[in-house]
């Protein structure tokens, strides 16, 4: 009995498992970074949509329509790869000699010097940006709606007291906008969390990849504990992990909502 416990504790704390636990950092990083960027892109998109200048408005509308019209996985894969290629192409125009380009046999990059090495963290960053872009489109919709929900009188009062357009925007409009945007942003955040499960598709050794490797059957004692296919157990852990994170996020958003809603939401007064 005691031996069993000791064995399982040992097994669950071996280096391979520790690496798995450590890989949660990628997921958490991508979620937080992606979330922050989604807000940034969301604000940008909402500003574009509100722009008086027609082309900008079109860009804003087009951005949110297109990104939402295709599967998130597709954009999630496309963006980092396309971005890498775009950067390499730009580098190529600077550094590649015509001979080097002619000598290049591989389909990409244009020449050897133009190659941009992407490691885990670069991919993670690009993955976060692509999460930010995809869910920024949703956030921009949410924020756009929330900006319009702020009562006109609040802004008028600010104007009447001589605040500049910028002061009105930041001190009153955006400040009050959050309250109306938070429920929607909470939804977007839940989506981002769930989308972090796709990191392994961008060659990041994330929790999903490690769960797969840990659960895979092993027949060779030299490799480690011999066991058959345990994958579903490991995935079950991830399944529960995500549910817990969702639950925690909900609680956190409720708390944020109470704070941000002070004075604005009557329910929040208790």
């Amino acid at each position: 009995m005691l031996d069993d416990i000791a064995f399982w504790v040992g097994y669950l704390t071996n280096g391979k498992h520790l690496t798995w636990y450590a890989s949660f950092q990628f997921t958490i990083f991508a979620a937080l970074m992606g979330g922050a960027l989604a807000v940034v892109f969301g604000l940008t998109g909402a500003t574009l949509k509100n722009s008086r200048f027609l082309p900008l408005r079109l860009i804003g509308t087009f951005y949110s329509a297109i990104v939402r019209g295709v599967p998130d996985v597709l954009f999630f894969l496309f963006f980092p790869l396309a971005f890498e290629q775009a950067v390499e192409w730009v580098i190529a125009t600077q550094v590649c000699s015509p001979e080097a380009i002619a000598a290049q046999t591989a389909p990409w990059p244009p020449c050897r010097e133009a190659n941009w090495f992407l490691g885990t963290w670069e991919y993670l960053l690009l993955a976060s940006v692509s999460l930010g872009l995809v869910y920024g489109a949703f956030a921009s919709n949410v924020i756009h709606g929330a900006m319009r929900s702020v009562p006109q009188g609040q802004l008028e009062a600010a104007r009447a007291y001589g605040m500049s357009a910028r002061q009105v925007l930041w001190r009153v409009h955006i400040r009050q906008m959050w309250v109306y945007a938070l429920p929607g942003l909470s939804n977007v955040w839940m989506l981002i969390i769930k989308a972090t499960s796709l990191l392994s598709l961008l060659q990041i050794a994330d929790i999903v990849l490690w769960a797969d490797r840990l659960g895979a059957p092993n027949y060779l004692p030299a490799v480690g504990l011999v066991h058959d296919d345990w994958r579903w157990r490991y995935y079950l852990v991830l399944f529960i992990f995500y549910i817990l994170v969702t639950w925690l996020s909900e609680r956190a958003f409720e708390a944020i909502m109470r704070r941000a809603g002070r004075g604005i939401l009557s329910e929040a007064q208790g």
Partner: protein, 230 residues
């Protein structure tokens, strides 16, 4: 010292796998480190899924692939290989004991392969008629599906199957005949890396000559071979 980034899959024991410390280990890791030492390079190991391992090499995310990858004409069209560091090795079928196949006219079988392997290409070309080819992302998954009975047989590298069949203690057995495909396992690299290729090739030559390669094969494949020195 120049750094060489070497990609491996980490799911193809005993070639390459993740050991209990969570680090890449196995025949190719030992060999790769020996090569680097010989060639005066610094090695850095990178994990990459099998099905995108060539694309990511081409995309420049690493310089070398050591992932039990057989040298084939088709692959040579896109990437280059060093000389082999594992002798040509027949591919084999395994199945649960008691399965009856008529390999002369195989039909109605569900054949598991790892996608993107020479066996997958072979099966698609020669066995697709009348059989169902199921391709899996990893060799582990392929094996798991065989053990769980989702496929009737799998076709894979003999040297990969050998230790598993031994360890499985009768749960699976070799069936049918061996199929000779591929020109041994080599390290893949981009075509424009002539300099690197030379360095690695020289190192492999030296390591073959001094018996290191065979010693590592013996160490990792339970003394079974195949070996370079006959």
């Amino acid at each position: 010292q120049e750094t060489v980034r070497i990609a491996t899959e980490g799911a193809y024991a005993p070639w390459n796998f993740l050991n209990d410390s969570g680090e890449p280990a196995g025949f190719e890791i030992d060999l790769g480190n020996a090569i680097c030492e010989k060639a005066g390079l610094t090695c850095e190991w990178i994990l990459n899924d099998w099905d995108s391992i060539i694309p990511n090499l081409l995309a420049g995310n690493y310089d070398l692939i050591m992932a039990g990858m057989s040298i084939t004409e088709e692959r040579l069209a896109t990437i280059d290989f060093t000389q082999n560091y594992f002798p040509p090795d027949p591919s084999k079928f395994v199945a649960a004991p008691g399965s009856e196949f008529d390999f002369a006219a195989l039909s109605g079988a569900r054949i598991g392969v790892q996608s993107g392997t020479i066996q997958a290409a072979y099966a698609e070309e020669n066995l697709a008629d009348g059989n169902t080819i199921v391709s899996f992302a990893t060799a582990d998954q392929n094996m798991a599906d065989l053990m769980a009975g989702n496929v009737d047989t799998i076709l894979a590298d003999g040297a990969y199957l050998e230790p598993i069949v031994t360890a499985a203690g009768g749960a699976i057995e070799f069936v049918g005949e061996e199929i000779l495909i591929g020109g041994g396992v080599g390290a893949g690299l981009r075509k424009d890396e002539a300099e690197l290729k030379t360095k690695i090739d020289d190192a492999i030559t030296a390591l073959k000559a001094d018996g290191t390669v065979d010693a590592l094969i013996a160490q990792w494949f339970e003394g079974q071979g195949p070996f370079f020195s006959e």
